[in-house]
């Protein structure tokens, strides 16, 4: 942005266009150094072995039953929490429809959603330990009612224990992502539906439903991606092991030999990126459909 402050006239005329482009270099350099290169390194490290020779063994190892099981667990947790988060979040958005956007209730819900969606993964783990941990508030309360939620083992510190904490940030994320779509429903559509003889049912079934579908699915994909790539909560709750993909990456980074293959972390990273790219591509395709309709 420091373009032509103290240059002599002739030089200024000569270099009128390039300096502006130069202004983009700090950002380009920064992103290159701290995003592009680490990502490339991460992915490439999966294609080389400990001695530095090219190999597809690591990538092939992704398809062993053990690791496939890890991906399946990740998928399962992500899918369940995404669906629950999407449905509950959509219901909350619906409940907020028609409220004054500047009103107290609405701004409180908005703030609460922003905070909880960002609620750092580690602190979320603590919150749920305090809630449904062995000595948790709810656990003790239910025990008082005669219900022992840990009758079949303490599941909080295993994969099923991730479900509730994840839903806790999925619902707010859904509210943040989906609310604009609901607000984009023009009142004229509901009114036109009524004047043409439709009922509230026909409105939701034939108009609002189809119009919201791309956005709902897009948000669902975003929630899935969010859960899939989440690390901190799992790391805090499950102190060792490789039950989901991010934890397996942790295991691979911390110990050099996983299944006797080094650089496994890179291969896992590659797998994750492929999946994330597919998810985010789907999300942006659905988003552009939504914005086209709600212009």
């Amino acid at each position: 942005m420091t373009i032509e402050t103290s240059r002599p006239r002739s030089a200024r005329r000569l270099v009128s266009v390039p300096p502006a482009v130069l202004g983009l270099t700090p950002f380009a350099l920064y992103v290159l150094l701290f995003l592009a290169i680490p990502t490339v390194l991460a992915v490439l490290s999966g294609l080389f072995d400990a001695q530095g020779r090219f190999t597809i063994a690591n990538v092939a190892a992704l398809f062993t039953p053990d690791i496939l099981k890890t991906f399946a667990s990740s998928f399962w947790v992500s899918a369940v929490t995404a669906i629950v988060g999407a449905v509950v979040g959509a219901l909350v958005c619906y409940a907020l429809l028609g409220l004054n956007p500047q009103g107290t209730l609405r701004s409180m819900v908005d703030s609460a959603a922003s905070v909880l969606a960002q609620f750092g993964g580690v602190m979320l783990a603590f919150a749920f330990i305090a809630t449904i941990g062995i000595q948790g508030f709810v656990t003790v309360f239910l025990k008082g009612l005669g219900i022992n939620i840990f009758a079949n083992g303490v599941w909080l510190y295993q994969v099923p224990g991730l479900l509730l904490p994840y839903i806790y940030f999925q619902v707010p994320l859904m509210i943040i992502t989906f609310m604009p779509a609901l607000e984009g429903l023009k009142p004229q559509w509901a009114e036109a539906n009524a004047t043409l003889g439709g009922t509230r049912l026909t409105y939701w079934a034939r108009i609002a439903g189809p119009v919201l579908a791309p956005s709902f699915l897009g948000s669902l994909l975003l929630l899935f991606a969010n859960a899939f790539s989440s690390y901190a909560t799992a790391a805090a709750l499950i102190s060792q092991g490789a039950q989901i993909v991010p934890l397996r990456i942790r295991a691979a980074l911390i110990s050099e030999t996983v299944l006797g293959r080094s650089n496994m972390a890179g291969a896992l990273a590659l797998g994750m990126i492929v999946i994330m790219v597919v998810l985010m591509w789907g999300y942006s395709a659905l988003q552009s459909r939504t914005t086209r309709w709600q212009k």
Binding site: T5, G23, I37, V92, A95, L99, G120, A130, M272
Partner: protein, 273 residues
Amino acid sequence: MSGVRPVGAAPGRVARTVILGVVGILFTIPIVAMLEFSLRNLAGGYTFAHWAGVFSPASTVTYAVVFTGLRNSLLLAVVTVVIILVILLPTMILVQLQFPRLRRVLEFICIIPITVPAIVVVVGLAPVYSVVARLAGSSIWTLAFAYGVTVLPYAYRAIQSNLSLVDVVTLAEAARSLGAGWASVLWRVILPNLRRGILAAAFITVAVVLGEFTIASLLNRVNLQTALVQVSKSDPFVAVIFSLLALAFAFVLLLLIGRLASDRRTRAQKKAS
């Protein structure tokens, strides 16, 4: 503005109250649980001892690692905000002024960190950081470079939602035609109009950095979150108390962002009417 719309898509009072009520209660339970937990006396009953312990002078010694982590995280937050303001913000303004066609590219780049999550980036960050260590030392603040990338999507969105409402091209042209140099244009004309977006970006950056765990932990650095995990193994009460404090702090920050946004809107509405 208008009366009740009998045909509207809005929910009835009952539905609204039930949904918001149930969800609201379910979502406050963990927070209440944290509060309750932090007040528990191990011998039974409740006590403020844990809270007192955190705020007493002796705590800086007993919970040294937490305060180190907190200090580090705050430092990181500041440096990350600086990175955003010095690198991202000027770039966004430049693109808006000079390279409108690159806007989609910039937007895409700023969305990438969502696609390439921290857990993936961190795998490739170790070699990058060994280089950084040689150039700039291995103190904690260098981690901010990685954090800047993590917050890109949020900061970008915060600034862009402000930027897209302000016609910076016309403002800049008007200022230039009145004789302003680029520095004046930036400082006196553009930035004052972006205050809301900049503040929002700064706040959200702080919130995200304070909550970051993945990169710090896997690069073996100490920040607030890693310190809390470490402490939680020996003293879970401190961990929970700090989580509550961080939650309250983030809530205040984001409430302020919301107020900033609505202040602008209501002021504009008042002017129009």
